[in-house]
Amino acid sequence: MRGPSNLARPTIFVVDDDAAVRDALKLLLRSVGHAVETFGSAQEFLDAYGEDRAGCLVLDIRMPGMSGLELQQKLNEKHSILPIIFITGHGDVPMAVEAMQAGAVDFIQKPFRDQDLIDRINQALEKDSSNRAALGERNDIRRRLETLTPREREVLDLVVHGKANKVIAGDLKLSQRTVEIHRARVMEKMQASSLAHLVRMVLEVGQA
């Protein structure tokens, strides 16, 4: 179940210092078919978690030692994209607000209805999955961009800026025919089905 190949099977990581809460969450989430791993402290989780693992983090906000907020900060520093759902006690709203501002996807107050938690977890997993998919697509686009020659890159830039082949030929002091050939090569290498598709891909990776 572990390892880089488990993108298909996300894991719910539960971090709570209370053994009973941890154990109950594990049982609940397994009963709805999730893979669950539990940790008694933020440090334990940090030591065990590999960045490439998909899923979401269910995190107690108040813990001795490293608090939930401190763990969130450490993950942010590592550019982690793992979505975090905070579980909070009563009267922890200011902390929850802080957590949301720091990028948490949601928070839920103890005790909670199981369906509420499960819904939030499902949303978080969807988000993680689309994040990871988007991340994968962007990486593909970047990889394709890297296959372009410098000249093709110049042509691409001008094409996505809306310039006609004639204008590009003038700018680059090339024949119109040569530009057409470069342009066809770019479309092919970028696997673009249309000009609009090509533009979208370039915008996606912020290269425009």
Partner: protein
């Protein structure tokens, strides 16, 4: 025997009688005065001469009433005349007390007895006069001291009694004892214990009977405080002291006792204690208020676990391939967690409830352990470790457990607050008990926080002094009054190596008293 011889003998006998009479007169302590039916003095003995300052020769033939001032002077003349005219019995008067008058005009208290000399006509009389100044003074002094005693008893609101066992003397109730026992002075006499017993408050009666039994049976003094209900229904507190005096053979002769009405003192003490208890209760509530977040968390954790287990069980049961063991385990956990939440609430209720203060024998170390469980959540939330160093002797103290826990908890709370700013690795509280050199039990709460500076130290125990935003400033002042009410003291000092240490003592109870 010749007639002459008889006459001689008779004369000799008369002489002898006269000498003997003279000797009696001379030796008499009382003044003796002989006078005739007109009151003229015929004889005054030596004691009379000394008592009145006259020579016998000076007064012979004078009226006997010169020895009296007015109004006794005229009264005496009337007496005499009346007696002679009416021919009343031979004794005119016994032990009449009057004032007599000396030659120099000074007067003194005297007791006068007058008798008629038999067989004389007209009648002659003999008067005996006794100077009773000393007795009178003694009586006066006694009366005065009795009056003073009565006043003193009124002021002190204390009465005393004497019970005699041999029946030779009358039992005694001092005038104020009537008041102490709700009776009017002069009401008919009732034996004190028989009167007292039904008055004793039913709740105190067994104790009273035991003390009384011991007073009768052993040499032990009675020394108890109890409540009595007066005939008018009012409730009073009395302090009863009594002891038994015994003959050489151990037979009880008498019991002497005092009953002191201490109602006012007891009421004042009760009020002071109630006030203190109310303040202490307020202190506990405000401490709990400060700990509210931690407490809510502590109850919330088991509730969260319970809710989650229960919901998981429902889902598991709904599944075709549900594992029975898994469900059973979860149900077990639910039970355990429910008890855990109940325990938290029970502890809180015990701590916060406004209850009667009870001093009991408790192990000092147990007090610390209980506080540890109460404070643990709060400490954990603040990254504070708590260490227990219990005294190996496991000393006992006589204390109200909740109030002492309150003191310790208050000190722990302060310590936690003092360590918010220090690195987490340093955040440590040591709770310690030990038996000090005087045998008292010393409690210590030591932290590694910011410590207490000299200015703060001076004000630390003042009510409403606080260094915390939102603090009441009452915690330490309440804690100190609780410790004082337990007969101990509370103080603070620096912790070598940084931080503060708070100490308090409670008087030790001998281990044997615990059995």
């Amino acid at each position: 025997m010749t007639l002459l011889r008889v006459a001689e003998l008779q004369e000799e006998r008369a002489h002898r009688l006269e000498r003997e009479f003279q000797a009696v007169l001379d030796a008499a302590v009382d003044a003796v005065v002989l006078f005739d039916h007109e009151g003229r003095i015929e004889l005054l003995n030596h004691a009379g001469e000394r008592m009145f300052g006259y020579n016998e020769q000076e007064v012979i033939g004078l009226k006997v009433n010169i020895l009296l001032p007015e109004p006794y002077r005229s009264q005496h003349e009337d007496y005499l005349r009346h007696y002679i005219e009416a021919g009343e019995p031979r004794i005119i008067g016994i032990g009449r007390e009057l004032i007599a008058k000396r030659r120099d005009g000074s007067e003194f208290s005297a007791e006068l007895a007058v008798g008629r000399v038999q067989g004389t006509d007209p009648p002659r009389f003999v008067g005996f006069i006794r100077d009773i100044t000393v007795r009178r003074n003694a009586e006066e002094a006694l009366r005065r001291s009795e009056a003073q005693l009565t006043i003193a008893q009124e002021i002190a609101n204390l009465g005393n009694y004497v019970v005699h066992f041999d029946g030779k003397y009358e039992d005694y109730w001092s005038p104020h004892l009537y008041r102490v026992l709700g009776r009017r002075y002069g009401e008919p006499y009732i034996a004190v214990y028989e009167y007292l017993e039904p008055m004793v408050h039913p709740a105190d009666r067994a104790r009273w009977q035991q003390a009384r039994g011991e007073l009768d049976a052993s040499g032990r003094q009675m020394d108890i405080e109890y409540r009595v209900i007066h005939p008018d229904g009012s409730l009073r507190y009395v302090h009863h002291l009594a002891q038994t005096t015994r003959a050489a053979d151990g037979r009880p002769l008498r019991q002497v006792g005092t009953l002191h009405d201490i109602t006012d003192r007891r009421r004042a003490e009760d009020e002071a204690r109630q006030m203190q208890d109310r303040i202490a209760h307020f202190g506990r509530i405000s401490t709990m208020g400060e700990m509210a977040a931690g407490i809510a968390h502590e109850v919330n954790q088991p509730l969260t676990a319970i809710a989650t287990y229960a919901q998981a069980c429902q889902r598991l049961i709904a599944q075709a391939d549900a594992s029975k063991e898994e469900v059973e385990t979860a149900l077990n956990h639910i039970g355990t967690q429910a008890l855990r939440a109940g325990e938290v609430i029970r502890r809180l209720r015990t701590f916060v409830k406004n209850r009667e203060v009870r001093r009991e024998l408790i192990e000092a170390n147990r007090l610390l352990e209980d506080v540890l469980t109460l404070a643990q959540t709060d400490a954990r939330h603040n990254g504070v470790r708590m260490l227990l160093e219990p005294a190996p002797q496991a000393p006992l103290v006589q204390a109200d457990a909740v109030q002492i826990q309150q003191v310790v908890l208050n000190l722990v709370r302060n310590s936690i607050d003092a360590m918010v700013e220090v690195p987490e690795a340093r955040r440590e509280i040591v709770l310690r008990t030990l038996v000090d050199s005087e045998g008292d039990v010393e409690f210590m709460v030591a932290d590694r926080g910011v410590g207490v500076d000299a200015t703060t130290m001076a004000e630390l125990f003042n009510p409403f002094f606080t260094t915390k935003p939102g603090g009441t400033g009452l915690g330490l002042s309440i804690s100190r009054s609780i410790v004082r009410a337990h007969g101990g003291k509370l103080w603070c000092g620096a912790n070598p190596g940084g931080g503060a240490r708070f100490f308090f003592t409670l008087p030790a109870v001998p281990a044997s008293a615990g059995s």
